[in-house]
C-alpha cells in the first residue's frame, strides 16, 4: 500500500457536541459614538453605519461614521493633549500604558468573544492568541517609556507629535495594540481609525482607555470607512501616518503625502513562500502548512500562501495535507472546537471566490474537503490548488483567504529564486532539520520575517514588517520604537 493512498482510512467517528463559548457576560451597546477627547460623542456627521456578525449576518451594533469635520475635531484634541502628554515624566506615561495592559487582561474573555462575533475568527484564536498578544504588546511598550535613552545609542529622542493610524479588519484589537502602544510609549498622541467591518473591540478598548484615566485627547478613535481614513491621511496637522492594509491603498497613501513632511510606515500585503525540504520534520511541517494558511481563515498578510515542497517528498506531503484538511472544522466562530471561522465580509468572500474561479480557469487542480457550511453567513472551505506555477495569477496575487497554492521544487537555489520572485517580501517559512540550511535560506530570502520550523509566531519583542511592496517600517521590539521618534 502506498503511503500516498488513502489517508482517508483514518476518518474519525466520534463527533464532538457543540461547545459554544458563553456570551451572557459580555456587553455590546446598541450604538457607539466617536471616542474623542476622553469621551464618547455623537458624530458631527450625525451618520452611523452597522456592523454585523459575518457568521450569521445578524446585526451587532451601530457605530458612528466620522466625517472630515469629525476627524478634524479628533486631530485637534490629539494636538491639544500632546504638549502635556509628552511633558509628563516618562515613567508616569509608562504607568498609564501598564494600566491599559492590565485592564485588557482583566476583560480578556469579553474582548475575545466580541472579536469573534464582529470579525468571524474562531474563539480559540481570539482567546488564546489575539487578546493575550494585544495585552502583551501594551505591557512591552509600557516598559520602554522611561528607557528611551538606552534605545538609540548616542542619541536622545523626541516624539513626532500626532500620529494618524489606520488599521485593518483581520486582527482588530491586536492591530490597535500594535499601533497605539509604541506611539504612546514614545510620547505621541493618536487618532486611530479602525476598519469598518470590525469596530467593536476598538470601542471596548476606548472604554478601557477611559477607565485607565489616560488623559483626554491622548487617544482618539474615529470609526468610519475609506473616506474617514482619507480625511485622516490628508489632515495637515498630522505628523505621522501608520497604515496596515492592502498594498494598493498603501501606495495611494504614499502618493498622497508626498511633498509633505509627514512620516510614514506601511505594513501591507504579502504572498509568503512556505518551503518544505525533504529533510524536514514532515509531520510537523504539514501542521505548519495548515497554521500558515488557515490560521485566521488565511486573512493574514504574512500567510504562507505559496507552498513549495521538495519534489522527492511532494506526494507524501500533499497526501498528508489533504488528510489534515479533512479533520479541520469549519463553522460557528463561537464554538470552541471550530478551526476555521467565517470570512470577514461578503466583499472579501467574493474576492476569494473570484480567485478560486481564476485558478480553475488557469488550469489549477482544486482540492476542498467536504464541509457542512452553515446556511447564513460568509464561508469558504480550506482550499488547495495543485499543479500551479509562478505564472499563474493565483500564485502571484494575494487572495487573503484560506487558499493555498502548491508548487514543487528540486534545488535550494531554485526555491530561493522562486520564493523571492514576487513584488512582495513580508514573510517566508523554511522547514528543514539541518541548521546550516536554515541559516542559508534565512540569509537569502528577501522577506522581513522568516520562520524556520514554525510559522505565524508573533511576539511583542519581535520586530515585524516587510521588504519591497509589503511595506516599510517595523512593528514590535526595539526596532518598533523608531517609527515614532525623531532624534533631538
Amino acid at each position: 500500500m502506498d503511503v500516498t493512498d488513502n489517508q482517508d482510512v483514518f476518518t474519525s467517528s466520534w463527533e464532538y457536541a457543540e461547545a459554544p463559548e458563553s456570551q451572557d457576560h459580555i456587553q455590546i451597546e446598541k450604538r457607539y459614538g466617536l471616542f474623542i477627547d476622553g469621551k464618547f460623542e455623537e458624530p458631527l456627521s450625525k451618520k452611523y453605519f452597522q456592523t454585523a456578525n459575518p457568521a450569521n449576518d445578524k446585526l451587532l451594533s451601530e457605530v458612528a461614521e466620522a466625517s472630515e469635520a469629525d476627524v478634524d475635531k479628533a486631530v485637534k484634541a490629539a494636538r491639544n493633549a500632546f504638549k502635556k502628554w509628552s511633558g509628563l515624566p516618562a515613567k508616569e506615561r509608562g504607568k498609564y500604558i501598564f494600566r491599559i495592559a492590565r485592564l485588557i487582561q482583566e476583560r480578556a474573555r469579553e474582548l475575545a468573544v466580541i472579536e469573534s462575533l464582529d470579525g468571524g475568527k474562531p474563539i480559540r484564536e481570539s482567546r488564546d492568541i489575539d487578546i493575550p498578544l494585544a495585552a502583551n504588546h501594551f505591557f512591552y511598550y509600557a516598559g520602554w517609556a522611561d528607557k528611551l535613552d538606552y534605545a538609540f545609542p548616542g542619541r536622545k529622542v523626541k516624539p513626532l507629535g500626532v500620529a494618524g493610524q489606520i488599521i485593518p479588519w483581520n486582527f482588530p484589537l491586536l492591530m490597535a495594540a500594535w499601533k497605539l502602544a509604541p506611539a504612546l510609549a514614545t510620547g505621541n498622541t493618536v487618532v486611530l481609525k479602525p476598519a469598518e467591518t470590525t469596530p467593536l473591540t476598538a470601542m471596548k478598548l476606548a472604554e478601557i482607555i477611559r477607565d485607565s484615566e489616560l488623559p483626554p485627547g491622548v487617544v482618539n478613535i474615529v470609526t468610519g470607512a475609506g473616506e474617514t481614513g482619507a480625511s485622516l491621511v490628508r489632515h495637515p496637522d498630522i505628523d505621522k501616518i501608520a497604515f496596515t492594509g492592502s498594498t494598493a491603498v498603501g501606495k495611494f497613501i504614499q502618493k498622497a503625502i508626498s511633498g509633505t513632511s509627514k512620516k510614514l510606515t506601511l505594513e501591507l500585503g504579502g504572498k509568503g513562500a512556505n518551503i518544505i525540504f525533504e529533510d524536514a520534520a514532515l509531520d510537523q511541517a504539514v501542521e505548519g502548512i495548515v497554521d500558515a494558511i488557515f490560521f485566521n481563515q488565511g486573512h493574514v498578510c504574512c500567510a504562507g500562501s505559496r507552498l513549495f515542497v521538495q519534489e522527492s517528498v511532494a506526494d507524501l506531503v500533499i497526501a498528508k495535507l489533504k488528510s489534515r484538511l479533512n479533520s479541520l472544522f469549519v463553522g460557528n466562530p463561537l464554538d470552541k472546537n471550530t478551526d476555521i471561522g467565517a470570512i470577514n465580509s461578503k466583499k472579501q468572500l467574493e474576492t476569494i471566490k473570484k480567485y478560486i474561479d481564476i485558478g480553475k480557469s488557469e488550469g489549477g487542480q482544486v482540492y476542498q474537503p467536504e464541509c457542512n457550511l452553515p446556511e447564513h453567513g460568509n464561508w469558504c472551505p480550506p482550499t488547495l490548488f495543485l499543479n500551479v506555477s509562478q505564472s499563474h495569477r493565483i500564485v502571484q496575487e494575494e487572495i487573503f483567504g484560506p487558499v493555498l497554492t502548491v508548487q514543487t521544487f528540486r534545488t535550494i537555489d531554485e526555491v530561493i529564486e522562486k520564493a523571492n520572485n514576487s513584488p512582495y517580501g513580508l514573510s517566508a517559512g523554511v522547514w528543514t532539520d539541518k541548521g546550516s540550511k536554515i541559516f542559508h535560506l534565512t540569509k537569502k530570502l528577501k522577506a522581513g520575517v522568516i520562520w524556520a520550523n514554525t510559522y505565524n509566531k508573533f511576539d511583542a519583542t519581535s520586530p515585524f514588517g516587510g521588504y519591497k511592496e509589503s511595506g516599510f517600517g517595523r512593528e514590535g521590539g526595539l526596532h518598533g520604537l523608531k517609527p515614532y521618534i525623531k532624534f533631538e
Binding site: 503511503v3 474519525s12 457536541a17 461547545a19 510537523q284 520550523n453
Partner: protein, 298 residues
C-alpha cells in the same frame, strides 16, 4: 526483518507540543463527553503492580473490574486487569466468564535488566498461568547504546514465547530521551511482532505524555499504510483523571480515527482513572459535582 531506522522523518519537539496543545483545546461536552467517558472506561487496563500486592488485593481489584459502580446502569466493563505473573492464575479464576482479559507484565519488569533466558522463562510462566496478554519491557540500555538488532531480536523472541497471547511492548519512553528515539523504538517493536506498543511501566517519571503518544500513533499510522496491519497503542501512567483521558481520546480520534477507537486497539494503563470517570458520569447525569467517598476504592 529489522526495519531501516535511517530514513525516518525527524520530529520537531515544539511542533509536536503545539499539535498536542490543539487536541487539548478541544471542548468535549454533553453527549459526546458521556460517550467519550464510557469509551475510556471500556479501555482501561485496571492495574496493580506493587511489591506489596497480595492475593487479597488482586481479588478485590478483580471484583471492582467487574462491578465498577453498580448504581450506574449500562456501564461498560474495563478491558483487562494487569498484574504480576504470580497473580495471573488467581485473576483468571476471579474474572472467569466476565469477558475481562488478564494481562501480565513480564521480562524482568520494570527494569528489563536480566538475561534473555530469565525473560523467556518469566514470559512462559505467565502464559502458562493463562495470561491473555503479555506486557514486556524493551532493553533500554541496549537501545541507547545503539544495539538495535539486540532489541529487535529480543522482542521477536518474546513474541514467540507468547504463543497465542497478545504482546504489548513497553518502550519506557521516559528513558528514551527524544521523540526520534520513541519513533525508532516503535518501529523496532512493530516490526518485531508487537500487537500493541505501550509507553511506560508507570514506575518512573515521566510516564505517558501526549507528545510521546502522538509519535507512537504516527508510527502506527505509517505502519498501517505500509503493511495494512493495525497495531494497538497503550499509554500508561499519569492518566489520573477524565480530562486527561479525554484528551488522549481526542488525539486518537483525530490521528487514527474510527478503526482504533475501541479496546482492541487502544488501552489506558491506569488505576485511579476509573473512579474519576465514574464521578464524571454521575455528574453528567445529576448535574452535581461528586465526592470520592461515594465510589468504592479497591
Amino acid at each position: 526483518m529489522i526495519p531501516n531506522l535511517n530514513n525516518l522523518s525527524p520530529y520537531d519537539t515544539l511542533g509536536v507540543l503545539e499539535r498536542v496543545d490543539r487536541f487539548c483545546k478541544r471542548s468535549i461536552k454533553k453527549s459526546s463527553k458521556v460517550e467519550g467517558l464510557k469509551l475510556a472506561l471500556s479501555m482501561i487496563d485496571l492495574t496493580t503492580l506493587e511489591g506489596k500486592d497480595t492475593p487479597g488485593k488482586v481479588k478485590q481489584l478483580c471484583y471492582k473490574a467487574i462491578h465498577p459502580h453498580d448504581k450506574l446502569e449500562s456501564l461498560p466493563k474495563v478491558a483487562a486487569v494487569c498484574v504480576y505473573p504470580t497473580y495471573v492464575g488467581l485473576a483468571k479464576k476471579e474474572l472467569k466468564g466476565s469477558g475481562i482479559l488478564v494481562a501480565s507484565v513480564a521480562t524482568a519488569f520494570p527494569s528489563g535488566q536480566s538475561s534473555l533466558k530469565t525473560k523467556l522463562s518469566d514470559t512462559r510462566y505467565a502464559v502458562d498461568e493463562g495470561a491473555d496478554e503479555i506486557d514486556m519491557v524493551i532493553s533500554r540500555g541496549e537501545f541507547l547504546a545503539g544495539n538495535y538488532e539486540f532489541v529487535f531480536d529480543e522482542i521477536a523472541s518474546i513474541k514467540e514465547a507468547c504463543g497465542n497471547a497478545h504482546l504489548k511492548v513497553i518502550l519506557e519512553t521516559g528513558e528514551l530521551d527524544t521523540l526520534d528515539n520513541v519513533r525508532k523504538a516503535s518501529e523496532l517493536a512493530m516490526h518485531a511482532g508487537a500487537d500493541f506498543i505501550k509507553t511506560s511501566t508507570g514506575k518512573i517519571q515521566p510516564a505517558a505524555t501526549l507528545s510521546v503518544t502522538y509519535v507512537m500513533l504516527d508510527a502506527i499510522k505509517d505502519y498501517y499504510l505500509k503493511t495494512g496491519k493495525m497495531i494497538g497503542m497503550k499509554p500508561a501512567g499519569g492518566i489520573s483523571n477524565s480530562k486527561i483521558a479525554l484528551q488522549y481520546l481526542v488525539m486518537l480520534n483525530e490521528v487514527l480515527g474510527e478503526k482504533w477507537m475501541n479496546k482492541n486497539y487502544f488501552r489506558f494503563g491506569a488505576s485511579s482513572l476509573a473512579n474519576d470517570i465514574l464521578m464524571q458520569l454521575v455528574k453528567a447525569e445529576t448535574g452535581h459535582y461528586q465526592s470520592s467517598n461515594y465510589f468504592s476504592k479497591d
